[in-house]
């Protein structure tokens, strides 16, 4: 059979791709067909006493329908696009024909094929599927394959935003979001400023044994973060060594007498909202400063000496040098990393989770109902919802909102920090 020609040139590759896409689409069709309902056939089991096995009906699996429905739609879209490309009067390399082209002038596309396929399979398809779950009722009462789940439109978002209803989620969401932002800003800035001050202290000309001090902090950084965090968590636990010492030295009783702690037994470092939040920030400061210090050290050593010397000759004191030269220089170089640090902190699962897991019990009754606590970030709340409560639909909603917050923050901050004009300041 002769393959179709366009303008006299063979387009083997294009048509083969189209056929592959249509074949894939047809494979997904049994799932795609059920996408509007996400399945209607409930799983049923009949015991076969002779074979001593369960006989199952041909039941629908809502999750597979959703997943392969997405794959099928993607393939359909790609096939239509391919068809349009093939039928449109197009430009083709005049000298190379058919498949040879993929080894010649289009070799970059051949090389990119696998990475792109990988991105589509492991990122784009799961991402679209997870986003779509926000519009379904996929939770612990609708777990596949025994139960089916279905589309519910925007109901889950309403649960989160409808402040008039007595929805626990509507109560918890602004509080968790607020703490997430406070945490991200405070944690990022405290580590950043602490790191710079520490670096300047160590770099100060009157500091002796600079390498020694630097190594000390390097060692703190070399210990994996989760090890340090679990260690600190044990130190500050209700039965930890700090509590024991405070009790012996009378600190606990003194704090109780001034009404700073609810019971005379322990200082609730990580178990009481007014104590836990500052403690977590403090511990994060301790864990995060060495890293920022190293970065700042590198940059401080790079500040052109002429600038500071010229300033001193002009009669500037150290504060003026810091304010007008060191800090702007540092900010310029580390601005983008400050923004990414902020976004990382919004999603800083480790610190919050390792310090509050199994220890922190909320006293906010509505938050408890939504499965959140005062120290939860959006991301740890999301984890709690999926892992402890199998509440995938709300987790998906929160995931979408976390993405929105992060992207908004990044866009605004990057726009400001790396805007035109500033780029030129030091060149």
């Amino acid at each position: 059979m002769r393959l179709p020609r366009t303008k006299g040139r063979v387009r083997w590759g294009g048509w083969l791709l189209l056929i592959a896409e249509i074949a894939g689409f047809l494979l997904c069709w049994p799932y795609l067909r059920k996408l509007p309902t996400l399945g209607t056939v409930q799983a049923q089991r009949i015991w076969d006493p002779v074979a001593r096995k369960n006989v199952w009906n041909d039941y629908d699996n809502s999750f597979l329908i959703l997943l392969f429905g997405v794959v099928g739609l993607l393939l359909l879209g790609m096939a239509l696009f391919q068809l349009w490309r093939l039928l449109r009067p197009g430009r083709i390399h005049p000298s190379v024909r058919g498949l040879e082209r993929w080894l010649g002038p289009d070799f970059h596309r051949t090389l990119l094929f696998l990475p792109v396929l990988g991105v589509v399979v492991v990122m784009i398809i799961p991402l679209i599927t997870m986003i779509l779950i926000a519009f379904t009722n996929y939770d612990r009462n609708h777990l596949v394959p025994t139960n089916l789940f279905t589309w519910v439109g925007l109901d889950n978002f309403r649960l989160l935003t409808d402040l008039t209803a007595s929805s626990a989620f509507a109560h918890a969401f602004p509080r968790v979001l607020g703490w997430t932002l406070v945490w991200a800003v405070t944690a990022t800035l405290s580590c950043y400023i602490g790191g710079i001050l520490m670096a300047m202290l160590i770099n100060h000309r009157r500091t002796v044994c600079k390498p020694f001090w630097r190594t000390c902090f390097m060692i703190a950084m070399a210990v994996p973060q989760f090890v340090s965090l679990l260690l600190v968590r044990n130190l500050f636990a209700d039965v930890g060594i700090i509590n024991t010492l405070c009790k012996q030295w009378g600190v606990t009783d003194w704090l109780y007498s001034i009404g700073a702690i609810p019971t005379a037994n322990v200082i609730p470092f990580l178990t009481h909202p007014t104590w836990a939040r500052p403690m977590i920030l403090l511990i994060n400061f301790w864990v995060g400063v060495p890293y920022q210090m190293l970065i700042a050290t590198g940059i401080l050593l790079n500040i052109p000496h002429e600038l500071t010397e010229a300033a001193r000759i002009d009669g500037a004191n150290s504060w003026q040098v810091f304010r007008s030269i060191t800090m702007p220089y540092l900010l310029h170089i580390t601005g983008p990393s400050l923004v990414s640090g902020m976004v990382t902190n919004i999603n800083n699962f480790n610190v919050i989770w390792l310090l509050s897991r199994d220890v922190y019990v909320t006293t906010d009754q509505l938050m408890a109902q939504a499965g959140a606590t005062e120290v939860d970030l959006l991301v740890t709340w999301l984890y709690r919802l999926t892992q402890d409560q199998s509440n995938y639909k709300m987790a998906s909603v929160i995931g979408i909102l976390v993405f929105a917050v992060c992207s908004l923050l990044t866009l605004v901050a990057f726009g400001r920090l790396t805007g035109r004009g500033r780029e030129e300041a030091f060149h």
Partner: protein, 406 residues
């Protein structure tokens, strides 16, 4: 996703696969999950005995470890590839039933019912009256530990005398107040109800009712007094063990999992008893509790459900439960195994048996835990906001009885 990868793998190894899959498999593969690494040695022995008892069958049994306390979420995440047989704590039963992971015991259910204690059978029975699991142990509830060097058996019978005695000695009585599982004991003891409703998903709760003989407000004000007592300390399992070791705790409520530590630290003065009474509305009421059982379930999606049932039945039969007690000191649910003198002489098991008349089988929907824990934490903190007690209970009950889809 799995099917997708399976499809790709199949395509790649198509020629090789075709030859193998048609072959008749000689052995029956079974996967079994036990709750703890320390259970593996016991399970290996059960597997050896099981194979010896079925010489005509060729089993290929693989043992894995999954914590019994949260095995349900592991199973429900992908029930089609979970183990054929698994051990779980009875608080997981409801989730597993909703997720459809449990195979009803369609063979030999009557024998299981007859061999085990009625409470353990009740815990293994679904709302439809069918048996969904095999009872394996009956010691997973909580009771009172005390150090008889400070506390006499008479003192141990009421919470008030326990607290006074501890305070006189500068020591503490430990209770995990902000843990919903334990908090239940005060409210249930006062005759208030909290249980799964008929739909199998949401809870019924009378903690905030005004027309019960003892009201929730009265219970709550008693609890606030107890929590403020100088002899009281809130302690979870870790804190309890730490307090045992440093001598600050002389009595406390916990379970068999801490019995060996208590016995070791307190030595001859280690004693265990049923929970004490506590004072509410001018009367002494007996603290109730949740009984706790470990159950063995069969995966409804297992390809070898019949063989899996045989193995589960064998794992929970008299001999296996006796071995389990001998090797792991876990109290049997099998009536005959429980009656053995060496089992009865174990203080922890004797305490559980004494508590049994006041213990309820745990039938609780998922919304109970966080809501009740928050109330417990408020009690421990002494109700710092000064919120009206009825309001606290109303909020708590609203959380406990909330529809499970929120």
């Amino acid at each position: 996703m799995k099917r997708f990868w399976a499809l790709i793998l199949c395509l790649i190894t198509l020629s090789g696969c075709r030859a193998n899959t048609v072959e008749e498999h000689a052995s029956t593969p079974l996967r079994v999950w036990v709750g703890d690494n320390a259970d593996v040695a016991w399970m290996e022995q059960v597997v050896r005995d099981f194979s010896a008892a079925n010489p005509d069958r060729n089993y290929d049994i693989q043992i894995g470890v999954q914590n019994e306390g949260d095995v349900a979420k592991v199973i429900l995440a992908d029930v089609e590839s979970a183990a054929d047989v698994f051990t779980f704590a009875d608080d997981q039963m409801n989730s597993l039933l909703i997720g459809g992971a449990l195979m009803p015991i369609v063979e030999g259910a009557e024998a299981v019912r007859n061999a085990n204690t009625p409470e353990s059978v009740e815990a293994a029975t679904g709302p439809d009256g069918q048996l969904y699991a095999y009872p394996a142990t009956a010691d997973n509830g909580y009771f009172m530990f005390y150090n008889s060097a400070y506390i006499t058996p008479g003192d141990a019978s009421t919470l008030e005398s326990l607290l006074d005695r501890a305070a006189e000695n500068g020591r503490k009585v430990a209770f995990p107040m902000s843990n919903a599982w334990y908090l239940y004991s005060f409210f249930r003891g006062a005759g208030l109800e909290m249980r799964l409703s008929a739909d199998g998903v949401t809870n019924l709760c009378t903690w905030n009712a005004a027309d019960t003989p003892i009201t929730g407000v009265q219970v709550l004000s008693s609890l606030l007094e107890i929590a403020a007592h100088p002899g009281f300390v809130e302690a979870d399992s870790d804190a309890f063990v730490a307090g045992l070791k440093d001598g600050s705790i002389v009595a406390g409520v916990s379970g068999t999992w801490n019995a060996s530590v208590a016995a070791q630290v307190w030595g001859d003065s280690y004693a265990a008893a049923k929970l004490p009474t506590y004072r509410v509305d001018g009367q002494n009421v007996q603290m109730a509790s949740f009984s706790g059982f470990k159950l063995v379930g069969v995966n409804a999606y297992s390809d070898h459900a019949g063989d899996a049932m045989d193995l589960a039945a064998f794992m929970t039969a008299y001999e296996a439960q006796v071995d389990r007690f001998t090797m792991r000191r876990q109290g049997p649910s099998n009536v005959a195994a429980l009656a053995a003198p060496e089992v009865q002489s174990e203080p922890a098991i004797a305490a559980i048996v004494a508590q049994a008349p006041y213990a309820d089988v745990q039938r609780v929907g998922s919304k109970y835990w966080d809501a009740a824990a928050a109330l417990g934490k408020i009690i421990v903190n002494g109700n710092p906001g000064g919120t009206d007690l009825q309001t606290l209970l109303d909020n708590c009950v609203a959380g406990i009885t909330a529809p499970a889809d929120q």
